[in-house]
């Protein structure tokens, strides 16, 4: 897929900015604080209806702005030309329109315009707790499968309701819990079975990503950790039965602690290089390569699943890379393995020797919002 233009209003540094993109590499460069990352943020909003930087949309809103409005023109192989508008007014629900028609549900936009983001905060994927890895799994699978997305939305809702019920010990009745157990295990089993299948396929993509990037012969592996044994993961029905049994066994613990203790909300992914745990033994460089491998593999996976090349967003990754890795990535972007890319960098010359900025295969786009952010003249 391809993003052709972007009109941003009310996103951080951008009061009103307009951008055009080429199908190849688009280098967004400019001074610090000029709003380069906000451009990627805006793209993320029109594609997934949420931010990749902040937990609350309020923080993405420009200071003093009444609303955020982002318009983009896309071209996908599956649907042709489409215009998307994302609107957020604080205090109201976020809205997405495709070709002028509002989507019934916000989540319906997810997966239409697949994207992969690589940002400085991604180091958390290999270094920090399981939350980050589950988020990675979910963002990826939601884009690839609407059925996964609706199961996830339902699962989270049931989990909240069930925890609420567990939390009020006095009014809690076992027979009421049964209906939540049924819903929890139904949606939860779907998530777990799909995650397990995904990891199998994804491992292959991770290996090919590594082959493209690293000069080493280390073999990356990814292992799925969940509550159930491998045999129980055969299909959703088998897993649901197993899951229900486990819930029944932990019932005393759960009522005591007032939360749901078994389920995909506690899953994790284990990353290894050969037999060594990345989290424990990898060097800084190995961490960085692994994260990049995960993102590239995500790219290949989405491409394969959707038959559409995702849009690749690289936020500030070049400024911290050593020359060797830098060259590898530049070659990758210039080659056929990936399609359209939006890259931010403080320097305008990061690709100087690799890509010709002829406005066709690659485009150099200065980002400067200083005129939009000039202080009000004193009167």
């Amino acid at each position: 897929m391809e993003i052709r233009s972007l009109h941003i209003r009310g996103v951080r540094a951008h009061a009103d900015s307009q951008f055009e993109f080429t199908p190849g590499v688009n280098l967004l460069h400019g001074p610090n604080g000029a709003g380069k990352t906000n451009v990627l943020e805006a793209v993320h909003y029109v594609c997934l209806a949420k931010s990749f930087l902040v937990s609350s949309d309020r923080y993405a809103l420009r200071r003093g702005a009444e609303q955020m409005q982002i318009e983009a023109e896309f071209h996908t192989d599956r649907r042709g030309d489409e215009k998307v508008r994302f609107i957020y007014v604080p205090g109201n629900a976020k809205r997405v329109q495709v070709n002028g028609a509002p989507l019934d549900r916000l989540v319906d936009v997810v997966g239409r315009f697949p994207i992969v983001v690589l940002a400085p905060s991604d180091h958390k994927l290999t270094e920090e707790g399981p939350d980050e890895r589950r988020k990675f799994l979910d963002t990826l699978l939601c884009q690839a499968s609407p059925a996964y997305l609706s199961a996830l939305v339902a699962y989270r809702r049931v989990l909240k309701q069930r925890n609420e019920l567990l939390g009020r010990r006095a009014g809690m009745r076992r027979e009421m819990l049964a209906s939540y157990d049924d819903a929890l295990t139904r949606h939860g089993s779907r998530l777990v079975v799909r995650r397990a299948r995904f990891v199998e396929v994804f491992s292959r993509h991770l290996e090919s990503a590594y082959a493209l990037m690293a000069e080493t012969t280390e073999r990356p592996t990814i292992e799925y950790r969940t509550f159930a044994n491998k045999e129980a993961l055969a299909d959703e029905e088998t897993l649901k039965a197993d899951y229900l049994e486990r819930l029944a066994r932990r019932f005393p613990d759960e009522t005591q602690r007032g939360i749901t203790l078994t389920g995909p909300h506690r899953d994790d992914l284990v990353f290894r290089l050969d037999s060594e745990l990345v989290r424990r033994y990898a060097s800084q460089g190995q961490h960085r390569t692994f994260v990049m491998g995960l993102k590239l593999a995500q790219y290949f996976y989405l491409h394969e699943q959707l038959g559409e090349r995702p849009l690749l967003l690289l936020d500030d990754v070049f400024d911290t890379l050593d020359p060797g890795r830098m060259a590898t990535i530049s070659d990758l972007l210039a080659g056929d393995a990936v399609g359209q890319t939006l890259v931010t960098s403080a320097r305008s010359d990061v690709f100087a020797d690799v890509l010709p900025f002829d406005g066709n295969a690659a485009s150099s786009i200065p980002v400067d919002t200083r005129s939009q952010n000039a202080p009000e003249p004193q009167t």
Partner: protein, 213 residues
């Protein structure tokens, strides 16, 4: 800012209390009311007061009605052995518009949702169980020992979301001991819709709930 008419402002305030009505719309409605004839406005005012004075809840199905029991519960030709359980009175209207259902209704008054503090005791759940247990007695029949019509089937018509799901499951379990058939309305594609334009979640549900030819 100075108001020229306190009456106008008061009406705007009142309209703005209604759901989906913002201040702008409230002003527009007020301006329209000003232009209407006095008779028309009195008609609106009387209709508003009448719903509060006359409308009550049917003691059989808990739908809103002017007369207890409601016309549906009284209708002689409806099938008294089938109950359709819905969340709100508006859902009864929706099903009635199909002209396809000729059983009776039971309005729950909402769905179970611990997050909103709504449990079975806040809904007409006990009343439903009682109805299924007792069978349907003609509400106009004076004689105490008049025979009751046994309930054969309960159709659960909750909204297709998590709360509708869990409430249905809960009711299904409660009604199991009575040996009545308990069913749920199907979910899937809208009629007249185009497969290509159906959202994926609905399409997935429709695939899961596929029926044999």
């Amino acid at each position: 800012m100075q108001f020229t008419s306190e009456s106008v402002e008061a009406l705007v305030e009142q309209f703005a209390k209604l759901p989906t009505i913002g201040r702008k719309t409230a002003r527009r409605l007020t301006a329209y009311i000003l232009k209407m004839s006095r008779e028309e406005v009195v008609g609106i005012a009387e209709a508003l007061v009448a719903v509060k004075d006359n409308v009550t809840t049917c003691t059989v199905c808990y739908n809103v009605t002017d007369h207890v029991p409601c016309p549906i519960c009284r209708a002689p030709r409806r099938d008294r052995s089938v109950l359709c359980v819905v969340e709100e009175p508006n859902d009864v209207l929706a099903i009635e518009r199909t002209n396809e259902f000729d059983g009776l209704y039971h309005v729950l008054g909402g769905v179970i949702s611990p997050l909103d503090g709504v449990g079975p005791e806040d809904l007409r759940v006990r009343e439903l169980v009682q109805r299924v247990h007792d069978g349907h007695r003609d509400p106009l029949e004076e004689a105490e020992d008049a025979p009751a019509v046994a309930i054969r089937e309960v159709i659960l018509a909750m909204n297709p979301n998590v709360e509708g799901d869990t409430t249905s499951y809960y009711l299904g379990q409660l009604l199991e001991p009575f040996g009545v058939r308990v069913s749920r309305i199907a979910r899937g594609l809208p009629i007249g819709g185009d497969l290509e334009f159906a959202d994926e979640a609905t399409l997935t549900r429709a695939l899961e709930g596929r029926a044999n030819l």
